[in-house]
């Protein structure tokens, strides 16, 4: 077994977005999947969080279906991000309860660690504006969490930003497209991917249809 991570570095934008998202759910808990990579120093770099629709959620419970994890893995593969970017954390919120793992949390973590033996469990506490992380086979060790502006390869950031469009049924928290991203760069990536991704083709078709529909609506507006 590979050594377990000793530190979790969360992209600053993702940290804030995760706190904001989980703070606006009427104090219900919400579960999801953290995606990112590892450094040679055994740190987890949390680059994004994906929240599937919740099967059930309340002030003290949340659950999501396994199929969404599989869908996310396929999509990361289709975007050419896997295995550089993979599931690195099981994430859920504890609004108002504090940073800890309950027995149920540890049980779920035990099932998920089979997917990745370096998995960590991250707990978001929106009322305290904190995120905590746990590592180890039974997630017994609380590890340091650091907020940092992570550096990105432009191509990887574009691909990650596209995740939101490919998984419309999920809440996807990833950094936005880079400021210096030109339409040329974007199109290049899109066309490389569109060749092989059915979901991407569907999305492009819908976008194109929407654009055509708005163009068709234009003359009528002008007449009015």
């Amino acid at each position: 077994m590979r050594p377990t991570p000793r530190k979790c570095v969360i992209d600053s934008q993702i940290y804030s977005a995760a706190i904001e998202f989980t703070a606006n759910l009427e104090r219900d808990e919400w579960g999801g999947i953290g995606i990112g990579s590892y450094t040679k120093n055994n740190e987890v770099l949390l680059k994004g969080i994906v929240f599937p629709p919740q099967y059930r959620s309340s002030a003290t419970y949340c659950s999501f279906e396994a199929k969404y994890l599989a869908l996310l893995k396929f999509t990361l593969g289709d975007l050419g991000l896997f295995p550089q970017v993979t599931m690195v954390a099981w994430v859920h919120s504890h609004p108002g309860h504090g940073i800890f793992l309950s027995d149920l949390d540890r049980q779920t973590f035990g099932e998920l660690i089979g997917e990745n033996d370096r998995l960590i469990a991250a707990v978001i506490e929106p009322t305290q504006k904190l995120i905590g992380a746990f590592s180890g086979a039974s997630a017994t060790d609380q590890i340091e969490v650091e907020k940092r502006d992570l550096l990105w390869k432009e191509d990887q950031r574009i691909r990650l930003a596209l995740l939101e469009n490919l998984l419309p049924e999920m809440k996807v928290l990833v950094p936005p497209l880079p400021d210096n991203c030109t339409p040329g760069n974007l199109l290049e990536t899109l066309y490389v991917l569109a060749d092989k991704i059915v979901r991407m083709r569907k999305w492009l078709a819908t976008e194109q249809l929407a654009r055509q529909a708005s163009l068709l609506a234009q003359p009528e507006n002008e007449v009015e």
């Binding site: 808990e29 579960g31 099967y55 309340s58 003290t60 419970y61 949340c62 659950s63 999501f64 279906e65 396994a66 199929k67 994890l69 599989a70 869908l71 396929f74 289709d78 099981w90 859920h92 504890h94 309860h97 800890f100 309950s102 027995d103 149920l104 949390d105 049980q107 779920t108 099932e111 998920l112 089979g114 997917e115 049924e169 991704i197 059915v198 979901r199 569907k202």
Partner: protein, 110 residues
Amino acid sequence: MAKTVYIYFAWQDHYQTLTLDDKQTVRKALRAILPAGVRSDEIESAIDETGLNVIDQFGEFLHEGMKITVSRNKLYEGGASGVFAITIRRSVTVCTFGVACLRGVSATRP
């Protein structure tokens, strides 16, 4: 015409191929390759690359080499409910004690 699709069993992170004909549903074809100990009625969904549940679709609507994710009725659960259970248990203990006291008081009354 027979088609071969890729099946991904989500609960055990395992890929397998499945060949089905035009008139077979995914559910029916799956029976032949389900891992031991898994019944077909335990299968909740078979999601294609577009996110569509194709469990009851016929082979004729699928395309060769398609990737399909098969899920059991499995949930990933989290929650702080353990903490609340302890709180409730404590208050129940307090209540029982209170009732006992009241009964005791009542018994000593003339």
